[in-house]
Amino acid sequence: MSNGANYQDLARRYGFAPKLESASRLTQLVARQDSDVDEIVKVIDKDPALRKRLLRVANPDAENEVEYSVETVEEALMRHGVGCAMVLAMGTPLAMALVKTFQTMLSSTLESIDRNQAEALEGEHLLGTIEFSGKVVGHVYLRMSLDSARRIAAGILGLPPEELSSNDEIKDTAGELLNIMTGNFKSNLCDAGLDCKLHPPRVSISTDLQTPTPPGGGLERMAFRSDKMQLFVDVAANPWNDD
């Protein structure tokens, strides 16, 4: 039925949500190894949310904006390389998919919060990781308390939390949440020519709070809050993998 149809026609026919222009544009720019830094600066500067996130990535040790030593987009890119803009480009569709999943499947509003405002995770928690490889390599890490994980699984499955019979259901739901989040950013990366493959998610109960950054890569650490739940998402990636 669709031989000859182009992507825009199909996206309209299937009712796809429009993609965020700034994130798509940024991905396309960053995907070109010879891209002009000025163009990247312009795209980020036009989007206040992207700008804020880039400066947060460029000042990983600062508790708040007053402590920022890197204050402009240009300076951030000069110091940390275009790789940190790539992490931003990846984090945007990922964060949007997570927020949309909460809206559509849990009827709940998830807001992005400053990592420093979040209540720190301690002890045993649920850790989900998904690896991607190809022209971009890295991992996405999803962490939440066991109580949050139970509430989310119950909400998505439409059950009271006490009716979840095993940790397997909780882990399966967390794995699917990771699949949904990363499926969206994979599409953006592939559309920009950065083909990559997603590996099956791994979900475990862990005490490990460390997120390793790949050599030469970038790391964005995000936090989200909804009702009594907090979620922590880290994206660690190294673009332009030539393997």
Partner: protein
């Protein structure tokens, strides 16, 4: 006769959500956890509609769709892709093989019902007959 729908997804969560969405309708659900199991279930059950994920272990959804369309006995079964991946190449490749619709995760149950309802007949289950009214309490006889 109930409409038969096959859900092929490696995530039990998604299979449960899909099953829950169709619960109010006269639908017989069957499930498979990967493309290989999905093909076997399609041949065995001859469903009226297949709801198919893309990324799955053993055999992915694109391979299953290709094999389904190559099989004269199965190629007419309509397929809705249900996936988190909506990248250009993926969508164009899948559309070329032949699908009736495409739904991107996360999704609302209503969206799935609407898309499925355009392809197969979805009849609401008849309401269960009301239980007979309890007899009125009898006033205790005066002593």
């Amino acid at each position: 006769m109930a409409t038969k729908i096959l859900s092929v997804d490696d995530s039990r969560t998604i299979r449960l959500i899909v099953g829950k969405a169709f619960r109010p309708y006269d639908v017989q659900m069957c499930e498979a956890a990967n493309g290989e199991e999905g093909l076997a279930a399609a041949a065995r059950e001859k469903p009226d509609l297949i709801i198919l994920d893309v990324t799955m272990p053993v055999m992915d959804g694109v391979t299953m769709l290709t094999k389904l369309k190559e099989d004269a006995a199965l190629k007419a079964i309509p397929v809705i892709m249900l996936t988190a991946e909506s990248g250009r190449d993926n969508v164009l490749q899948i559309a070329k093989i032949g699908v009736r619709d495409y739904l991107v995760k996360p999704f609302k149950e209503d969206q799935l019902i609407e898309k499925a309802g355009r392809i197969v007949s979805l009849q609401k289950k008849a309401a269960a007959p009301a239980a007979p009214a309890a007899p009125a309490p009898v006033a205790p006889a005066a002593a």
